[in-house]
């Protein structure tokens, strides 16, 4: 316990409250998507309790939407579970990217960091890493728990008000996620430096091409995973 306290003291910005603060810009994304999910859950014949439990247990936006779609379509449980696994497999890469920076913490705390990793918290964490080269456990907990509780509250709220709010998906609030990823991408690109920037811009152009082709054969979430693996590999091979 003492050694951990020392680690924390060495990092001035590793505070829970700083993690909460850094989570705030992403909350609009969680709230809008969470409410939209709650509404869709209700229209997919889930109860409010089930919407609440799903956001507590699975805690993954796209997987929860797909869960509703498959459940409503009467898909077998095995298909729902396998699809959920594939949709969330990209988290493996995200965890693998963040984990080496948090090995000084206990196994239990690392399980905590991993359990609450999402696309959004990953984006915020790697952006902080790009800027400050280090992230702390208290900061991660602040970020993760703020996102987690906001997500559960938003999904549940969506389920409660769902009866009065049809067509939540047509409001365009889901664009909050795209805007957030775009901003995180730009902030990360700014921090790589001029010489690497050209390399990255070429990689992104190549990625657009690969993505376009793959989308003919694969659903979007698998195309995201595979293009990332291909382009990161090309990145390492072609770096000077």
């Amino acid at each position: 316990m003492n050694t951990q306290m020392n680690v924390n003291e060495a990092l001035p910005l590793d505070t829970f409250s700083q993690g909460v603060k850094d989570c705030i810009p992403t909350l609009l994304g969680y709230i809008s998507i969470g409410i939209a999910f709650g509404v869709i859950g209700i229209t997919s014949n889930l109860s409010v309790l089930e919407i609440f439990l799903l956001s507590v247990l699975v805690y993954a936006g796209s997987a929860q939407f797909i869960f509703c779609g498959l459940y409503l379509a009467g898909a077998p449980f095995s298909v729902i579970i396998i699809t959920t696994f594939i949709v969330n497999l990209r988290h493996f890469l995200m965890s693998l990217t963040v984990a080496p920076h948090l090995t000084q913490y206990s196994a239990l705390r690392n399980i905590g960091f991993g359990t609450l990793l999402t696309d959004e918290t990953f984006g915020v964490a790697v952006t902080k890493l790009a800027k400050e080269k280090t992230i702390g456990g208290n900061w991660m907990d602040g970020l993760n728990l703020t996102a987690y509780f906001t997500w559960i509250a938003s999904c549940t709220l969506g389920g409660v008000v769902g009866k009065w709010l049809p067509n939540a998906e047509s409001w365009g609030l889901d664009f909050a996620l795209v805007a957030m990823f775009a901003a995180l991408l730009i902030i990360n690109l700014v921090d790589v430096g001029k010489t690497k920037l050209m390399h990255y811009l070429k990689l992104i152009a190549l990625m657009a091409l690969i993505m376009y082709v793959l989308l003919y054969f694969l659903p979007g979430h698998i195309a995201v995973l595979i293009t990332t693996i291909i382009v990161a590999t090309i990145g390492v091979v072609t770096e000077k």
Binding site: P25, T26, L28, G29, S32, S47, L49, L54, L57, V58, Y59, Y71, T84, F85, N88, L89, R90, H91, F92, M94, S95, L96, T97, A99, P100, N110, G114, T115, V126, T127, L129, A130, G172, F175, A176, L177, V178, A179, F181, A182, A183, L185, I186, I187, N188, L189, L203, A208, M211, Y212, P219, G220, A223, V224, T227, V231, A232, T233, G235, E239
Partner: protein
């Protein structure tokens, strides 16, 4: 406010397959020192995965031919400009959502 045992089991199944890929890497890197080339490869993952998530949203693969998702592309332009000039997550999200709301209102 009800549920059934089979639904609870289904959710637990989904929770386990979501949880494992999130947690396994955290356990892995504690016990295995990743080779330098893997670490260099991982340094490409943030920008690659963020690009992939953005690019995927700009395409529409619902038809037989993959096309641009024009609505998202049009909303993406002011969003990107704000991101580049402000480098602010919050301002970018607000501008993105407002642009999309306006587009949806007129279309």
């Amino acid at each position: 406010m009800t549920t059934s045992l089979s639904m609870i089991l289904l959710m637990i199944g989904c929770a386990i397959v979501t949880w494992l890929p999130r947690v396994i890497p955290f356990m892995l890197v504690r016990n295995v020192k990743l080779p330098d080339v893997v670490l260099r490869w991982l340094s490409y993952i943030p920008i690659c995965i963020l690009s992939a998530l953005v690019l995927e949203s700009l395409f529409n693969s619902e038809g037989t031919i993959v096309t641009l998702n024009w609505l998202n592309v049009i909303a993406f332009i002011p969003t990107l400009i704000v991101a580049i000039f402000t480098k602010s997550l919050f301002k970018t999200v607000i501008v993105g959502v407002l642009t999309m709301a306006i587009l949806k209102f007129f279309l």
